[in-house]
Symmetry: C2
Subunit: 767 residues, 2 copies
């Protein structure tokens, strides 16, 4: 008798190709652009041609008469409109006033996008200009016009405090203060914004949508349309990137729905690339005034932070990024006193949304430059200074964040050591005044970010349903959406790990609210952590059921059995006892007659913060240190990134290939934020809504990368993992600023570090 | 304080519009014809132009060279072909021989259906004719050519026996024998056969298919393609009728898959109407020789049955219909001795599939005519004679069928009484010889059919997953497919009944093997019964979970609570305690944090029959009696149906509107089988492959109907219901034959009763 033994093997930490990669590579992936429903109409939106104006009249008669046009709507045609956004401060179609160039005035549904575009050109709008407001500082002036019913044009404020900064300042040996200025950039998803809306005769609405938050949108759209949320089904086609841009409801979505309702036809509205630049959200621009103190022994004493956010014309998630910023000020390093206050102020600029890192790039830009400046004042090495103030495992910060795992010190040490940070920094500093225009610099920055979701909504959880078929093929229905981040692959791995089956035996269904259980959405670096734990929970229930049934057949205890390579094996020696598929069929095709179907809802053990923003908001926290090495030509202002040495506390690596991709992509996104990307506005008008003038980092500019994963094996994380989706973008700009200072002795506090801006800054500093 | 009380209300037995009716009515339903996948190619099949021939050569060069053609295949191009069908006696693409006009020789995939059709015309095939065989009696002759490796050309035999017919015949006072002849008809689904095949880069196959048995096909196609069944996903677009025609794998399906595999593109193959007539299956044609006996007291003594099935060129489900036929011979009435033997014999005719009633129309046609003949011999009234021999509740027949509920006697009595059967029959009989060519007749027939599935496969079960969202909207994921029969509506009703929610709060997902749990398929009148019980099982688990949680909140016991109209109420007085949605949210958004998701697999308590075909094969049995009234013009042979009085033991009515539709549709289908429909062949060539020459019953010919539902409240049925999908078609032809005899004194034993055939029969009888 041949006995087959199967050793225990693990998929965790392996290099797994993303499951959607082959389709994407050969062009088989069907994005929303590729979808055509029978009878589908195409919609286009007419946007304001004025920055700030009264709408005197809109004449749509010629547009409506154009052959192939099915419907033209303005606000007057949709009296049922309800306001949208975080503050409900805009209507999808504007009524009597426009407040920015992107403002939606009218929309057309036609047989083709070309006809819809032609119809837009036939709409005649008469405006009466109003005074412009494009600087948030000016918006607050008493005589500034009011953009909304908001005193001083202030849309939102956030105030956070621990300790007493006055006391902190009093005990400080050194105190510094700087103003940092952060610019407009945008997400540049390859998959632009789009939606197809279709009503059934019953009045039920199906939305094919690129949203990152289908379950929240179901509720929100229901409120907007005044229908039962149960009547809305959201199906997500494959999404070509989100990065936070698809978290809110934007005017184009209800507009498309109104057109579908009026025409009784499916209506598709997909942005052009130019429209995506103009009318999709931006990263939140702001100024940060940071005042910090330190004692001679190197202990941080206090931080006073004032930030002013350019809220734009309406309020979306960008205005709420202070919620994340304050964590970096309060908790990236130990600091006994902290006072944070911010205002988001209306202007006629575009409004900002959430964007990978959610305010943390901006906060870290300020904090990590101050860490270098304070170290310099102390005459301490920047690494040593950071290590002295760094948080440790087990600590609960004064904001209430509980670091059950924490690899910050290891990140700092490893990144410094692998990059030879100290020696290079000394060497480059010494060369600042040397002849020649080519300077080298090395800069360090660290970051803290949520790594296990963030409890903002009533639940931060995710549900999973697992279905095993007669052939040991598994379907995982998860609430978590795949937006290109590779979650489908990681979730499949986690299921396979529990059930001892090959990866290609798993199908992941993750894009239909009628089928998948609830999930709060793709944000806050939560998917691997929260959806991963949910999938594991469902898989363990299936495993238990299978092993209990196998125990009966084999006369062994369930805990003497294991699942490996599609077999039920004896755990002790791996002897294959029965194919899993056969076991499943014997359950199905027996008097017991049952299928293995399980479900699990995972809610992370995080807490809602109190009204003072205190509390352990995430189930885990991610840490990272980046050391960047640059070459800067003082004659041209060109900053080139040579190398990034990154160390990330990721808890544990699930998919080595996937997480490398996440870190690499994040580094490049952070690099773009620091050096090349700048969405430019002149009097509120976007000057560069295209990829020729908006400079994304391209392949030749991508630096060498040395990435180390610090595996702190988070106790709550799925297989020990923590979320890392946002982390790698966060500390790049700060590290580049520190490297520029190391190269030139000049500290730049305004982003981006484009050649012209760097050159001007250096020239000014020399004067 | 206002107390709202909600009385207990039930949806069971209400008149509920089918859920898919509005979409179908306004043309929004997207059948496979409406589907277009990006990059999709269109396929067409070249069929034999000879009845029986050797293929000498096939030249596809010109076809392949036609611009827009992507691929041309013949058997030679697909060496991996495996045989298909019940006996695995044909290859999808025929190699060296064709055995019928529908035989598939080559196939083309092209940019459009028109190009594919043009390419077919460029394929040159050289044949060498072989002797034709179109009469099954001749096929069995020793010198007949052999169509397959089957002695005497016999494809299949079935033998069933109980008692000893010789003994039965010995104790008979009257013995009669007749030969009945049953013709070719076909399903005429409005939705013709079609499939779209698409491979992912991983090699996984998605089939968009009109099949009625997606889970069985998943397994069968895997075997055919030699891949893991887990790699096949079957998605069913809305299906425009099945009636059994979509139970087997037919050559066009693997051919379409081969084309998709070779082109790397999605390939769509949809039949034209003509092709549907020629190449989709037919109802099984056969001859029945029935010998029956009776004692003077009216007790049936024996039945000897010999049937000869025209198997056609290959073997599909039609050849297995004897399995059902024998139940009618053995068990529709009590008969102590029964001997049934059948052979299915190869010919060059088309082959038959399963078709609503599955052989039972044919068997009932013979049995119920003999019941009239025997009654006449006895001088007994037909009704009285039937009542005397009718089965009763609790009986176990000699074949082992256990009638846990049985309304046959009530069906007989009610149908007779409501139609005034006896009086009319006497009156019409008396008028047979009266002057004038217009004669009236009334005829009765009853039927027995499975009403709770049929345990043929290892399992006859169905799985369900139920998911409740935060708004008390429910998704039912069921293995059972909707093919127009209204199962979606009934399943939603059954779920609502348990959960006390409105019908529009349920979404039914029933068309994707990756999502829905296993089900054996739509056949054997099993869906309401089996899928219904499965859905109820899942709903009760959800109900239990909700009431247990509500009990904690209300300090009542779960059994003191009820769910009504979207509320949790006190059962005693209906006082509304809490909206269900609120309860669900409080479960979800709490420290417990759970969703209500349940699953259930229901396996009916039926048994596999033994090798002698004995055993209780269905969990319940349906009964019916139809009385038809006709007007017959002896001068033209035209038979017009005036009225049908039908009484059906359906266990319990779930959807009054839906079940009326099923009965009405079945009556019309049985009417067509009896009077108008005839798929005509001359030397194996179909003469009438179109709706002009193939006469479906049209609206003006539909008779008045009087339908009574006998509610026997089956103990195992969902809410007491039994399956009724096939029943109403079954006894129509027999009742019409009996009515013709009543009108004319002439008994017609060959279907159909078209004017020409009736006229000839009457003329011959007169001679």
């Amino acid at each position: 008798m041949t006995v087959t033994t199967i050793p225990k093997q693990s998929l965790i930490g392996q290099r797994i190709t993303k499951r959607d990669a082959p389709e994407k590579t050969i062009g088989q992936t069907r994005y929303i652009q590729d979808m055509t429903l029978p009878g589908q109409l195409h919609a286009k939106i007419l946007r304001s041609s004025r920055l700030h104006a009264k709408i005197i009249s809109i004449d749509t008669a010629k547009a409506a008469a154009l052959p192939g046009v099915h419907c033209v709507i303005t606000a007057a045609d949709v009296p049922e409109q309800r306001p949208i956004g975080v503050k409900k401060d805009q209507l999808p179609l504007k009524t009597d006033r426009v407040r920015s160039y992107r403002d939606e005035i009218a929309a057309v549904a036609a047989d083709s996008p070309e006809i819809a575009a032609a119809a837009l050109r036939l709409i005649e709008v008469v405006y009466e200009d109003l005074p412009p407001l494009t600087d948030p500082k000016l918006s607050k002036l008493p005589d500034a016009p009011r953009l909304h019913d908001a005193p001083d044009n202030v849309a939102l404020t956030f105030a956070y405090k621990h300790g007493d900064v006055a006391e902190g300042e009093a005990e400080s040996d050194f105190v510094i203060e700087d103003e940092f200025s952060l610019h407009f950039v945008t997400h540049c998803c390859m998959g632009v914004s789009g939606v197809i809306a279709e009503f059934e005769p019953s009045g039920n609405l199906t939305l094919y949508s690129n949203t990152q938050v289908p379950f929240l949108h179901k509720r929100d759209f229901a409120e907007l349309l005044n229908i039962d949320p149960g009547r809305i089904r959201i199906i997500q086609p494959p999404i070509g990137g989100g990065f936070g841009s698809k978290l809110d409801i934007y005017p184009f979505e209800p507009i498309c729905i109104y057109l579908a309702r009026r025409t009784g036809r499916p209506v598709k509205l997909v942005f052009s690339r130019e429209e995506e630049f103009i009318a999709s959200p931006t990263r939140q621009p702001l100024t940060v005034t940071l005042r910090s103190g330190v004692k001679k022994d190197g202990a941080l004493t206090f931080r006073t932070v004032r930030t002013l956010l350019d809220n734009g014309a309406y309020t979306s998630w960008g205005a709420t990024t202070p919620f994340v910023m304050m964590q970096t000020f309060s908790s990236l390093y130990r600091v006994a006193h902290c006072d944070y206050y911010t205002e988001a102020v209306y202007t006629n600029n575009p409004y900002s949304g959430s964007f990978r890192g959610y305010g943390n790039l901006q906060a870290t830009f300020a904090v990590e430059q101050h860490m270098d400046r304070l170290a310099e004042l102390l005459g301490m090495d920047g690494l040593e200074f950071r290590l002295k103030n760094a948080q440790d495992r087990g600590e609960v910060t004064l904001q209430g964040l509980h670091f059950k795992s924490c690899g910050l010190k290891e990140c700092l040490s490893v990144a410094a050591e692998r990059s030879d940070y100290r020696q290079k920094r000394e060497r480059h500093q010494a060369q600042q005044a040397a002849p020649g225009t080519i300077k080298r610099g090395v800069g360090m920055a660290s970051m803290l970010h949520v790594g296990g979701g963030a409890k903002i909504y009533p639940s931060d959880g995710c549900g999973s349903i697992l279905k095993l078929d007669d052939f040991a093929h598994v379907t995982l229905m998860t609430g978590a959406s795949e937006i290109g981040q590779g979650s489908e692959t990681v979730l499949a791995q986690l299921v396979c790990e529990e059930l001892g089956i090959p990866l290609d035996a798993v199908t992941v269904i993750n894009n239909d609210t009628d089928i998948t259980p609830w999930d709060v959405g793709v944000h806050a670096s939560r998917t691997t952590f929260v959806a991963g734990n949910s999938a594991i929970g469902a898989a363990r229930k299936a495993r238990d059921k299978i092993l209990a049934a196998a125990a009966k057949v084999t006369n062994l205890h369930a805990d003497q059995l294991d699942l490996r390579a599609g077999y039920i094996v004896r755990a002790e020696d791996g002897e294959a006892l029965m194919p899993l598929a056969k076991m499943l069929r014997s359950l199905h095709f027996s008097d017991m007659a049952e299928l293995v179907i399980t479900s699990h809802y995972y809610e992370p053990p995080s807490k809602h913060q109190d009204k003072d923003y205190k509390g352990d908001v995430s189930a885990a926290y991610a840490w990272a240190t980046h050391v960047v090495e640059i070459e800067l030509d003082t004659a041209t202002g060109i900053v080139r990134l040579d190398k990034v040495t990154a160390a990330h506390d990721v808890g544990r690596v699930i998919n080595q290939l996937g997480i490398e991709g996440q870190i690499e992509g994040g580094i490049v996104m952070g690099q773009g934020y620091a050096i090349t990307e700048h969405l430019m506005f002149e009097d509120g008008l976007c000057l560069n809504p295209n990829f020729r003038d908006y400079k994304l980092v391209t392949a030749p500019e991508i630096p060498e990368m040395d990435i180390t994963f610090i595996e702190t094996m988070d106790g709550e994380g799925p297989q020990g993992a923590k979320g890392v989706g946002e982390a790698p973008a966060i500390c790049m700009a700060a590290a580049v600023a520190n490297a520029i200072e190391n190269a030139t002795g000049v500290r730049l506090t305004s982003l981006p570090f484009t050649p012209e801006r760097v050159y001007r800054a250096l020239t000014e500093a020399r004067r």
